[in-house]
């Protein structure tokens, strides 16, 4: 089961299981440490009715940094006859948790790259993006085919500290995928990003995406 064992197996998980009438999307929030990935999930958790969300699992260190991963299961109910579930994960951003990141990334149907908009964190963003691409390549995932969205978080900080979404697009988003300015702490851009990545993932269904 993908929820409890994101690291198990080398086979990509199935997005649509026709026999079980079930659609399961795994979306991974990737990015450098302290960029706001867990904050995204926490905001979503706070906005989802209790009946529609599972328990948010967060394994954090005593300094409140994500040690392994965050996991938030969302049950969207039956849509057009398919029981639809979303599983949101974050990876630990700190560079020394590389193996955990690789495991969490396995079988992802879509990735949100959460970048820290602060100008001083640009190199961290670039390093994390390269790390993500390396991990995906190692897993045999075609980065051009995988739905990816960029979220430039902390846009609420003073303008002299941060880069604008256009500048961050220039620096990071060289494939010109969808990108969103965000203030995850207060929810700005959180659902916009989630909706965009979810729709990208679902649109791959009829275009011959992953099926069981």
């Amino acid at each position: 089961m993908r929820a409890s064992a994101p690291s198990s197996g080398d086979e990509p998980m199935s997005l649509v299981n026709f026999a079980a009438r079930e659609i399961t999307c795994k979306i991974v929030y990737y990015g450098p440490g302290r960029s706001g990935k867990t904050t995204n999930l926490q905001y979503i958790f706070g906005r989802v009715p209790e009946s529609r969300r599972g328990r948010m699992v967060s394994l954090a260190t005593h300094t409140d940094r994500t040690l392994f991963f965050d996991f938030l299961p969302l049950d969207l109910g039956s849509i057009s006859g398919f029981a639809t579930k979303f599983q949101l994960y974050t990876v630990p951003g700190q560079s020394y948790y590389a193996s955990t990141r690789r495991l969490v990334l396995q079988g992802a149907d879509g990735v949100v790259f959460v970048a820290d908009s602060q100008a001083r964190r640009l190199d961290d963003n670039v390093e994390s993006l390269q790390d993500m691409q390396t991990n995906l390549l190692e897993q045999g995932v075609d980065v051009r085919q995988l739905p990816i969205a960029f979220q430039y978080n902390k846009q609420d900080l003073p303008g002299d500290l941060i880069l604008t979404p256009a500048e961050l697009d220039e620096a990071l988003n060289f494939r010109a995928v969808q990108s969103f300015g965000a203030d995850a702490l207060h929810g700005g851009g959180v659902f916009e990003t989630l909706k965009a990545i979810s729709e990208s993932v679902l649109r791959r269904l009829a275009a011959g995406g992953q099926v069981a």
Binding site: V16, F18, A19, I23, I44, R47, V48, P49, S51, R52, L76, G77, S78, I79, S80, G81, F82, T84, G187, V190, F191, L194, K195, S198, E199, L202, R203, L205, A206, G208, V211, A212
Partner: protein, 646 residues
Amino acid sequence: MSPPLNPYFRFDTMVVGAANRLAVTAARAVAETPGAVYNPLFIYAKPGLGKTHLLMAMGHGAKAIDPALSVEYLTLDHFIEAFHAAIASGQGEAYRKRFADVSLLLVDDVQFLTGQREAQAELLRIVDAMQTASRQIVLTSDRPPSEIEALDERLIRRFAGGLVIDISPPDYETKVAILRRKAEERRVTFGPGVLEAVAKLGLDNVRELVGALNRLIAHQAAGDDVPAERVEALLGGGVPASAAAPAAAVEPPPDEFGDFLSDISATLHQQIEAWRGKVAAAILRWEGEGYRTARLEALLDGELARDPEEALREFEADVRKLDALRAEAEQAAPDLAGSPVFRDPGDVPAAAELLEQAKDGAHPPPAPSPVWRLDAVVEAAGNRVAVQAALAAVAEPGEKYNPLVLVGGTGVGKTHLLHGIGTALAARGLRVACLGAEEFTGELIEAIDRDAVAQWRKRYRRADAFLLDDVHLVAEKSRSQDELFLLFNHFLEGGRQMVFSSAVALSQLAGVESRLLTRLEGGLVAELPAPEREIRQKVADRLLCEKVPEVDPEVAAYLAGRPAESVRGVQGLVQRVLSAAEAQQAKLTAGFARSVLECAPARPPRRTAAPRGSGLVAPGTGAARSREKMVWDWPDIGDRLIEEWR
């Protein structure tokens, strides 16, 4: 490349109300007779009122009437993009020619012509060319032509010269109908008054209506109770500012998850519909090419119980396998290539098995026609020997009369008797090969051509009985005679029944090798004479009884007395009388039959002026007819002689 027509956007999926009735009527007229009415047709409406739906529906409608019709749909963006690309690559003329063969051109969103002078000029040229050639062009826009900024006056005049028509926002009833249709499509039911409450929200745009419905579906799927009274509260955040009541000064907190769920539901629904559309399109395609599509239909009926992409790939692969098997079958046994087995991708193993049988010569040879039954043969003194021999051959195949050779003129019942024997033997479980000599020779030639004579022989040698009609037609065909000779020996040695028919007496049969003739004569040669009166009467009686519930026995007696050299001749007489009785709605009596068969056909009007001539009148056809009547009114020769003696 132009975008394809959305399979969902058809006339039958469009809800028609007062607001769009005129536009739909005009669109239907255009789809039925493209180029004949309202050319060009210009439809304008605000976004989300069904312009694109109507445009594509015209494409589908026109294609449904004439599948060969060339229909092209494109948005103005596509049009301009392709135009610029063509100009950049020096292919401007090729771009113009692209539309030369289009019979129905559908251009969406032409409001973007603003500021596109070259594109306007090109469109003007296309409109003129299509009008001149009576080919149809339909355009849509979100505003009337006169309000499209900087639009060439000539284009405005061209559009005005056809029909410019608008679609208004739907009225309340239409909105309810649209919501009901959409809910049905999503297989969702709401409580009483819910959809009516949505329709009252002041959403004029169909897309907004569908969005509101999506939100309700999402709430309902989440287990929330959605009564009519809560509709406004639930959709408060989703109603656009333009439609929201001005009194709603306090903005409710945004339901971000609800919005998310609603959008995701709509996206997923679109994707699933896209799958269904793909499967439906595949069914149309493969049915059109003559393949059975039960497997794909089951997929649609089963609500996509398996991956449609995979199912379509498998189906296509099976079609390719069938094509390959059929191509092989055409080589091995051409008569098999048309078998429905090669058109059913649901059972490829059956096709493969049939091909293997064909290769092995094991597929069944031509069978006797079940239309001719032995018990329907009329037995009389003249054909008694032949009929009894036939019964004996059925009772003890290969034992008593082998071969049995039926000899007689045309239409005396040889083929009937031969197939009757075959049908009776087949009913006993025997594998019967029954065919005509011409077919036999034709198959042999094909087998020689395919270098497959060995398989062809095997096919017949596996039969338990061999029945050949019109054996006299193998005369002068030495290879056919050779093969027949070999088959004859094979069947004789195996004690398996053979039956032949010949229209020529064996003693007079020229061009047939004596080794074959002597073998044919070695069995029982039973003659079938021209049908005597008894047979004619029984045949006439039976045919009449089949058609007329209570027939006068004198009719059959009269018909039996008419001249007929064959059973077929008697059948012809009966048919003439029955047809005349039906046409004139007359009671079928002997007198009526006589009037039909003996009265002269209508004559041309007689000339009033006396013909100029010698004054001598030669005996006409009337005299001959009288004589014939005199002869055939007395059916028995004895009576006839007495009359002549008198």
